[in-house]
Symmetry: C2
Subunit: 226 residues, 2 copies
Amino acid sequence: MITDPAVIDELITQFHFLQCADADFVRQFFGGTKVIHLPADQPICQQGMQCSHLALVIEGTARVYKIGENGREITLYRIGPGESCILTASCILSQKPFPAFAVSEQPIEAVIISTSDVVRWSNNEQAWRDYLFRLISERLSDVISVVEEVAFRRVDRRLAGYLLQNSDNGSNRMQVTHQSIASDLGTSREVVSRILKDFEQQGLISITRGAITLEDRDHLNDKSTE
Amino acid sequence: MITDPAVIDELITQFHFLQCADADFVRQFFGGTKVIHLPADQPICQQGMQCSHLALVIEGTARVYKIGENGREITLYRIGPGESCILTASCILSQKPFPAFAVSEQPIEAVIISTSDVVRWSNNEQAWRDYLFRLISERLSDVISVVEEVAFRRVDRRLAGYLLQNSDNGSNRMQVTHQSIASDLGTSREVVSRILKDFEQQGLISITRGAITLEDRDHLNDKSTE
DNA sequence: TGGCAGTGTGTGACTTTGTCACATACTATG
DNA sequence: CATAGTATGTGACAAAGTCACACACTGCCA
C-alpha cells in the first residue's frame, strides 16, 4: 500500500498510464503495491529465473545483459525512471523463464507489483496494457539495434560513438573502466584498451585509471561515422 | 470481407484468438479483412517505411532481416503460419517507422488488416491484444537469442547448428547457397564457404553447387556444441 | 553447338577482432 | 608502508571479415 502523497504525485507524473486510467484502477494500484529501495550493483534477475514480481522504476537505473559461454557480457538495454523491466512482464505473461540478467547500477527506488496483479490488470485495464505494449515495442527496437551494432559495425567506431554518448557533454569526462565499456559493447577488455590507447595517441582522448576525458569530440564523431 | 467457409475454418484453427474472442468481434474480423496472395521473394517491408497494414500469415514464410552498411545481412527471425509481422503491429501502435526489411520466402497467403482495425481491436478486444502481446514477447526473445549468437558464439559452431536445424532430417539434404547461409548468420559468404569446405574435408558434409548433404549428423552436433 | 551472361564457389593476402597468459601499475586500507 | 584487490598494458596467436580476383556451372540464345 502506497500512501505518501509525495510518492503518489511523483508516480502519477512519471507513469502516464496512471493519468489515463480510471479512478478505480488508480485506487487499486496504490492499494496493492509498495515501494522498495535497492542499493547499487545488486543482482535483480538471474537468467532462467521465474519472475515473481514486476518492478516499475521511479529512480535509478538497471542494466539488462547477456553473458556468453566465455564469460563476456553484452548490454541489451537499460531501464530508467518511468520504465519497467518489460522482460519480466513478458515472462510473467508468457510464463517463460527470464532469458537474461539484470543488475541495478545506481540505487533504485521502484514500485513492486505482484504477478497476479500484473495479470489481472493486463486483462482489465487498457491504460496499463498500452503501457506494457509500448514499452515492449521499444525494447524490441533497442535489441534490434544491438544486433545491428554487433553484427555489422567495427568496434573502434562503436567505441567512438559510445564515448560521445556516455560522456558528460560539459566536462567531457566519464568515469568508467575499460572492462565496463567492454561489457556494454559485447567485446573484450583488451580490445577496448587497445583502441582507447589508439585514440589517445591520436589526441582524441586522455586516459587515467578509471576515467576518460574527451579532448576532441569532432574528430571522435568522424571516427564513429566514417 | 472473408466468406469462404474453408478459409474461415483454417483461420479459426490457426489463430487461437478467434476462438477466445466473442462472436461480435469474430463477425467484425471476417467482415473487415481480406485474404491476399504473394509470390515468393517479394519485398514486404522496407526499412523506414510507415506500415499501413498488418498481415497475419496463413501459409508460407517471410524473413525479417537487417542490412549493414557493408551490404551484409542478418536474419532476425522468420514469420510462419499462425504468426504475424509483429514489428508491423508495433510500428502501427507506436507510429514509428519499420526498423528492418522483410521479404516473402515461400509464396504467402495472408489476412490483411488495416491500421485502423489494428488500433481499434487493440483497444477493445482482449483476445486480440493477448495475441499481439504474446507474439511480440516471443520476437523479443528471438532477437535476444540472435544477439547472444553473434556476440559470443564462433561462426563454425553456429554454422554446424544451422546445418542440423535447416536440413531435412530424412534425406539430410538442403538446397541453399553459401550466400543465403551467410545472410542468415550475419557473416560473409567467404567465411561460410571456407568453413563448409573444412566440414567437407572432415567428412561431415558433402557439397554440390546450390546444395549440401549432411553425412554425419552426430559429429556435426559435437561441432555445434563443443 | 558453341558462346555468353548470370550465378555460385574457391583462394590468397591482408586487416580487424578475440583469446590467452602474463606483466605492471594504481588505490585503498589496515 | 605493505599488501590485496582492482585496473591496465602487451605480445603472440587464432578466428573472422574484407578485397580482389579466378574459376566453374547452368541456362539460354544465336
